[in-house]
């Protein structure tokens, strides 16, 4: 159980100014400004939930993760994870969590991955039996196989990320924080990582909190999303509630041989070029099938495709809506 109540955190940063004379001035006098990283963050996550934590860069995602993992002490507010305050009982707390910082490695670069794993086992004081069991499970789920005998520097990014996640799970944590786990991965690796996260959540009941910019991650993994912007939680609910906000418009792309396309206010033309047209349909007024019927009555259609607003566009419009 993770509970955050009115967590606040602000930093003071020196203002760096451009220009020569400004720089000379800064030599003697420096101005500071306060950045409110977290203004008021509250949420509760039950055991075994998978939550997607989204928001634009600088919205406060990593600050929240840092508070929850005990790296950062907030100015005010409460944060209780499995009955502990992270920054007060650091050692006991971190034994129960796993953290993957997407762009930083915890594996030793020059030695086989398995050596790093064994070291992590010793650092977390994991029992030998439990370690072997977890390792066997992880090896199977992540298809690590021969990878763990290879030095980390020789692994591809996707292979390394899989080992990275495994390393964070060797002590069988109750909560797993994933900070952009699929960043920079190719399509196949992304799918593998997602499958794995799902499997761990299902089989071990691990609570997963995932920050990402990749909306497909969110779509594939999480039932619930938290949207943060300017240090505040703006939206907290199931992914479907987000879908409900989806615009009723659909995009129709048609190829046609002859005739003229009937275009009106319900069916607007976005662009047209050499027998190919992109149209926008307002499904509150007419259904997609009706639109297609209308079109095929006047023109000889060869091909039709329908697209709804992508989740990326959806999130972008959310950001616009909250002006973050």
């Amino acid at each position: 159980m993770i509970e955050l109540k009115h967590v606040q955190k602000s930093f003071r940063v020196a203002r760096r100014s451009a220009g020569f004379s400004e720089a000379v001035k800064a030599l003697f006098h420096r101005e500071y400004e306060t950045v409110h990283a977290l203004r008021d963050v509250s949420f509760t996550i039950r055991d075994g939930e998978m939550v997607g934590y989204i928001g634009p860069n600088g919205a406060g995602k990593s600050s929240t993760i840092k508070v929850m993992s005990g790296v950062l002490t907030p100015d005010s507010g409460e944060c209780v994870i499995n009955g502990r305050v992270p920054w007060k009982e650091r050692v006991a707390h971190v034994r129960e969590i796993g953290v993957v910082f997407g762009q930083r490695s915890q594996l030793w670069w020059d030695v086989p991955v398995i050596d790093s794993f064994e070291l992590i086992r010793d650092i977390y004081k994991v029992e030998d039996g439990a370690y072997r069991k977890t390792l066997a499970q992880l090896t199977e789920l992540l298809q690590l196989g021969e990878l763990i005998r290879t030095p980390a520097r020789q692994l591809s990014l996707g292979q390394r990320m899989r080992c990275e996640i495994a390393a964070s799970l060797l002590h069988n944590p109750k909560v797993l924080f994933l900070d952009e786990p699929t960043i920079g991965l190719d399509a196949v690796s992304k799918l593998a990582v997602r499958d794995f996260i799902r499997a761990i959540n299902r089989e071990n009941g691990t609570t997963v909190i995932l920050t990402t910019h990749d909306m497909q991650d969110i779509e594939a993994l999480t039932e619930r999303i938290l949207l943060i912007g300017k240090g505040k939680i703006l939206l907290d609910g199931p992914l479907s509630s987000l879908r409900d906000r989806r615009s009723p418009r659909r995009t129709l792309t048609v190829s046609y041989a002859g005739g003229r396309l009937p275009v009106d206010s319900d069916l607007t033309l976005v662009e047209e070029k050499e027998g190919r047209a992109v149209l926008s349909v307002d499904t509150d007024v007419i259904s997609v099938s009706e639109a297609i019927a209308r079109l095929s009555a006047k023109a000889e259609l060869r091909d039709v495709s329908v697209a709804e607003e992508s989740i990326d566009e959806l999130v972008a419009s959310l950001y616009r809506e909250f002006s973050i």
């Binding site: 955190k9 930093f11 003071r12 940063v13 600050s63 840092k66 993992s69 005990g70 790296v71 950062l72 002490t73 100015d75 920054w87 650091r90 050692v91 006991a92 971190v94 034994r95 969590i97 953290v99 910082f101 930083r104 915890q106 030793w108 670069w109 020059d110 030695v111 050596d115 070291l119 010793d122 650092i123 977390y124 004081k125």
Partner: protein, 258 residues
């Protein structure tokens, strides 16, 4: 302790993957301290003595200083490169692991290439010991051991202090070089040659003199007070405030995250 040895072995394994680079760094360490040695040699060639200390006597100071510094740099390197750990996020990783922060910082970096310097320090010690005219009784040998131990403690404390400062300023850290590199360079001579004020500073502020100067007086027979050989142990006391300062900085890091 078992884990520490494992980590040491791991570092060794990693560094041996880059043998050429390792040897080059050793060579570099050797050369820089060798030119420092040559400087002393040539100055003594001209002046023959400094404050009545002979060349061999100064070499004892030189080698004690160099040994203590190299050992500290080898094993307490994690604190020496601490700003890097903060910048590249290793510190955050350390904070999410269930072991003491100090232990993890210590084992984050162990630099074996310091043997280049260490080797030279030993060679010079081996040369200085028989030629210095010191009567090598058991208590004097014991004194040298204590000097080295105390020296490692004081330099380690300085590295911890350095790491503590890096929580407050990264750019301004250069001033700590006066105490770390400066102590090494200027501690190659008996500290009294710099005058009363400097000696006091190095006794009470940065206690280099505790392991370098006072036991040295007993070693070369300028003082009969056998208690002097235990002064280096006070160097360990210096670890306390430095460690406290580091903890203070770490608390601040946790509250600012920068």
């Amino acid at each position: 302790m078992k884990l520490y040895l494992k980590l040491v072995a791991m570092h060794l394994k990693c560094q041996m993957q880059y043998k050429a680079s390792f040897l080059m760094t050793c060579l570099g360490q050797f050369l820089t301290s060798f030119t420092a040695f040559l400087s002393i040699l040539f100055l003594f060639n001209r002046f023959h003595a400094v404050e009545d200390y002979s060349f061999s006597e100064v070499l004892i100071c030189f080698s004690v200083m160099l040994t203590a510094f190299s050992l500290a740099e080898c094993f307490v390197r994690g604190f020496d490169v601490f700003p890097r750990l903060v910048r590249n996020g290793t510190l955050d990783r350390i904070l999410v692991r269930p072991r003491s922060e100090i232990f993890q910082v210590l084992t984050s970096n162990i630099e074996f290439s310091r043997v280049g310097r260490l080797l030279q320090a030993f060679v010079i010690l081996a040369y200085a010991v028989p030629t210095s005219g010191v009567a090598w009784t058991a208590d004097r040998v014991f004194a040298v051991v204590l000097m080295l131990l105390g020296g490692v403690a004081v330099f380690s404390a300085l590295f911890v202090l350095y790491a503590g400062f890096s929580f407050f300023t990264i750019e301004g850290l250069e001033f700590m070089n006066i105490f770390t590199d400066g102590s090494r360079e200027f501690g190659m001579y008996p500290l009294s040659v710099y005058g009363e004020g400097v000696l006091k500073f190095y006794t009470f502020c940065i206690p280099i003199a505790l392991f370098q100067y006072y036991p040295f007086l007993y070693l070369v027979g300028r003082s009969d007070d056998v208690r002097l050989i235990f002064l280096p142990l006070l160097g360990f006391v210096f670890l306390v405030p430095c460690y406290a300062f580091f903890r203070f900085g770490l608390r601040r890091y946790k509250s600012t995250g920068s």
